[in-house]
């Protein structure tokens, strides 16, 4: 009889417990957890070479929610990991990862080839996570070449990986850049007619200018020298030469108006500079040229660094006497030499 009175109470109690439990389930959203298999799980060795040290990057997609404990079992590769590794997620949207949630690790341990840590985030099913495990000098030393397995366990999910340890994963490429120097002269002819026109005893005449382009990878840059054939503007018809000014000083050609005077000026340089005698200030100053066959070449411009299309513009300037015989064949041949300073 006592049993009969007790059983209904027990039944009611059990039902109440059940109802309370189920309400709790509904309110908290709890659902049963089953061990699962990680998908898209990866272990990347930054160095795949046998007997060399490496750190690793890992990523995986969780199958179930709720876990925070992670272990990476590398015991098949090395049972002796470097102490105190660091687990840092950084960012998952940069290589070697493509997407995911970065996880940092705390309570990191490294016993017997297994790195364990507590994730900074609680895993959510179908979410991809990434992190990088490093240690000073490398997390571990690779074993001999061959294929090995390692296992990632995250929460209640796990997956076994394959890792290939190989004899070489590097490619060394080398080469030597050849010493080069190229120089070109734009026109080859530079006439007064393209500048100020016919020479006059009352004004300074100048050519339109010519451009010398230098390319060189010489570490100390380049140098340009100039010399001429006639030591001035010479007319074969009249036999007269409008003589060059000094080769060693910068001459203001405006001060030579009404006299015979011929000079070359470096009008502009994109890189480097003209030497002092040949610096052309506004198309009015320069220095004379010596004959290549006698005195030799004079340095007109230079640069101290490698050149990529350095452009040197030169102009010729001339003043004449009022008594100079007219002719259209006054000319000079100027030779430009260049060299790289390697």
């Amino acid at each position: 009889m006592k049993q009969r009175r007790f059983m209904p109470k027990l039944r009611i109690s059990l039902i109440l417990v059940m109802i309370f439990g189920l309400i709790s389930i509904y309110v908290t959203g709890w659902q049963p957890v089953f061990a699962g298999t990680l998908t898209k799980s990866m272990i990347l060795e930054y160095n795949m070479v046998a007997s060399q040290t490496t750190n690793i990057a890992i990523s995986f997609t969780s199958a179930t929610s709720g876990g925070t404990n992670v272990s990476v079992n590398l015991a098949n590769l090395s049972t002796s990991l470097t102490a105190s590794p660091t687990v840092s997620g950084g960012t998952c949207n940069t290589s070697p990862f493509t997407s995911g949630t970065p996880i940092n690790g705390s309570s990191v341990s490294d016993g017997s080839g297994i790195v364990t840590f507590t994730s900074s985030v609680t895993f959510v099913a179908s979410t991809t996570y990434c992190t990088i495990i490093t240690a000073s000098g490398g997390l571990m030393t690779n074993p001999a070449a061959g294929t090995y397995t390692a296992t990632i366990t995250a929460g209640s999910d796990s997956q076994t990986q394959g890792l290939d340890v190989i004899s070489s994963d590097t490619y060394t490429v080398n080469g030597i850049i050849a010493q080069t120097f190229t120089m070109s002269i734009l026109n080859g002819t530079d006439n007064f007619s393209s500048g100020t026109g016919t020479l006059s005893a009352t004004s300074l005449g100048s050519t339109g200018g010519d451009t010398i382009t230098v390319n060189t990878n010489a570490l100390s840059g380049w140098l340009l020298w100039a010399a001429d054939a006639n030591a001035g503007l010479k007319s074969s018809t009249t036999g007269h030469t409008i003589g060059s000014v000094s080769t060693s000083s910068n001459v203001n050609m405006n001060s030579k108006i009404g006299q015979d005077a011929f000079a070359l000026g470096v009008y502009s340089v994109t890189a480097g500079s003209a030497t002092t005698p040949y610096a052309d200030s506004g198309g009015t100053t320069g220095a004379g040229l010596a004959q290549a066959s006698t005195t030799g070449y004079n340095l007109i411009a230079t640069d101290s660094a490698p050149a990529a299309s350095d452009a040197v513009v030169v102009k010729e300037m001339a003043d004449i006497l009022a008594t100079d015989q007219a002719s259209n064949d006054y000319n000079d041949t100027i030779t430009i030499l260049g060299a790289g300073s390697f």
Binding site: R11, L14, I15, M18, I19, L22, I23, I25, Y26, V27, G29, Q31, F34, A35, G36, T37, T39, K40, S41, M42, L44, E45, Y46, N47, M48, T94, S95, P96, T98, T147, T149, Q159, T160, Q161, G162, L163, D164, I166, S168, D169, T170, Y171, T172, V173, N174, G175, I176, I177, A178, T180, N215, N217, A218, L219, A305, P306, A307, A308, S309, F342
Partner: protein, 338 residues
């Protein structure tokens, strides 16, 4: 997810009610005097007979004889199921097809799994496909009918033995039938890169120089394929005086630059292996490199006989000093996504 509460709640109440019903008990009435032939409580069902041949069984290595009416109530012991490893592609799962030949249509089945043929340690396939410690009985259709289902969460390179028991209501539960076995394959990833070095010799500025091809091989059975990455020691072509920087660009239109170009991806089967941007350019279009591994080749599926080439291109400017030899050490690594 929160709908589970009400559903389970209803189920629980039904169970509480049915616990006191005998409407679906399989009754067996025997010849002979005395005794109750069945009894129930909230926690068990008992069936008893008097005057029958004693219930029990005898067996040898080739047969098992069952005696008594209780044994006679049992349905047929299921035949061995069919297991498969996906034509040697599954490393963490096996396909399972239950053999329901001779079984009633409303029979339910449990699947036992072990890594030894004597089932010294036995687990059971759960409804989720993973293994658990308790058997789960499901209908033939719940196990995937003739298409079958998948046992997951298994260990690579391991032979599994599987057997099935059947049940149709109470007092009909069979023993586990004959087992069959299948093995998961091992996880596979192999990778190689050759040669290990190349000299561009002496080259002139303002001209793009291309190395000969590197050759890669890549094989994996990882379900999500894998990747090949490139990284560099110097972030460009470096000498003691200058580094020609690694860039992603068409070098023909740049004053200087250094980069890597992937070419000729292919495979025997699976894959496909493809070149990843910015390494997928043609002509003098190359991709940059740095100390951080960058994905140069990828496949989203298992691949057999994967091969690819790559070359290195460099263009020096006139302003690049000639002192010493320029060099970069590229590292190519691979990983698979299991």
């Amino acid at each position: 997810m929160r709908m589970w509460g009400p559903i389970i709640l209803v189920s629980g109440l039904l169970f509480a009610t049915f616990a006191h019903s005998n409407t679906y008990q399989l009754q067996s009435y025997s010849v002979g005097p005395g005794g109750t032939n069945s009894a129930t409580s909230t926690t068990y069902h008992a069936q008893g007979t008097v005057g029958e041949q004693v219930n029990g069984s005898t067996s040898s290595t080739t047969y098992t004889a069952k005696n008594g009416s209780i044994q006679a109530e049992q349905i047929n012991v299921p035949l061995a199921p069919t297991l498969g490893n996906g034509s040697n592609t599954y490393y963490d799962r096996l396909s399972l097809i239950i053999n329901n030949s001779g079984e009633p249509s409303d029979a339910t089945y449990a699947v036992a799994v072990s890594t030894t043929s004597n089932f010294a340690v036995t687990n059971y396939v759960q409804a989720s496909g993973y293994l658990g410690s308790s058997p789960v009985y499901q209908s033939y259709s719940a196990w995937g009918s003739g298409t079958g289902s998948t046992i997951v969460g298994l260990t690579p390179n391991t032979t599994y033995y599987v057997k099935v028991a059947a049940m149709e209501g109470m007092f009909t539960n069979t023993e586990y039938g004959a087992y069959t076995s299948a093995a998961t394959v091992n996880v596979v990833i192999t990778f190689s890169v050759a040669p290990s070095s190349y000299s561009l010799g002496t080259f002139v500025p303002n001209t793009v120089i291309t190395s000969s091809n590197l050759t890669f091989t890549f094989v994996t059975n990882a379900y999500s394929g894998g990747n090949v990455y490139v990284s560099g020691q110097n972030g460009g072509f470096k000498s003691t005086a200058h580094t020609i920087p690694a860039i992603s660009a068409n070098l023909a239109s740049q004053s200087e630059g250094f980069g890597v170009q992937g070419t000729n991806p292919g495979e025997t089967s699976g894959g496909p292996l493809t070149v990843v941007s910015p390494y997928n350019g043609t002509g003098n279009t190359v991709g940059t490199e740095s100390s951080n591994p960058a994905n140069i080749f990828t496949t989203a599926a298992p691949i057999v006989g994967g091969t690819a080439n790559a070359n290195v291109q460099v263009k020096a400017a006139y302003t690049d000093p000639t002192s010493g030899s320029y060099q970069e050490v590229l590292t190519f690594v691979a990983s698979a996504s299991f």
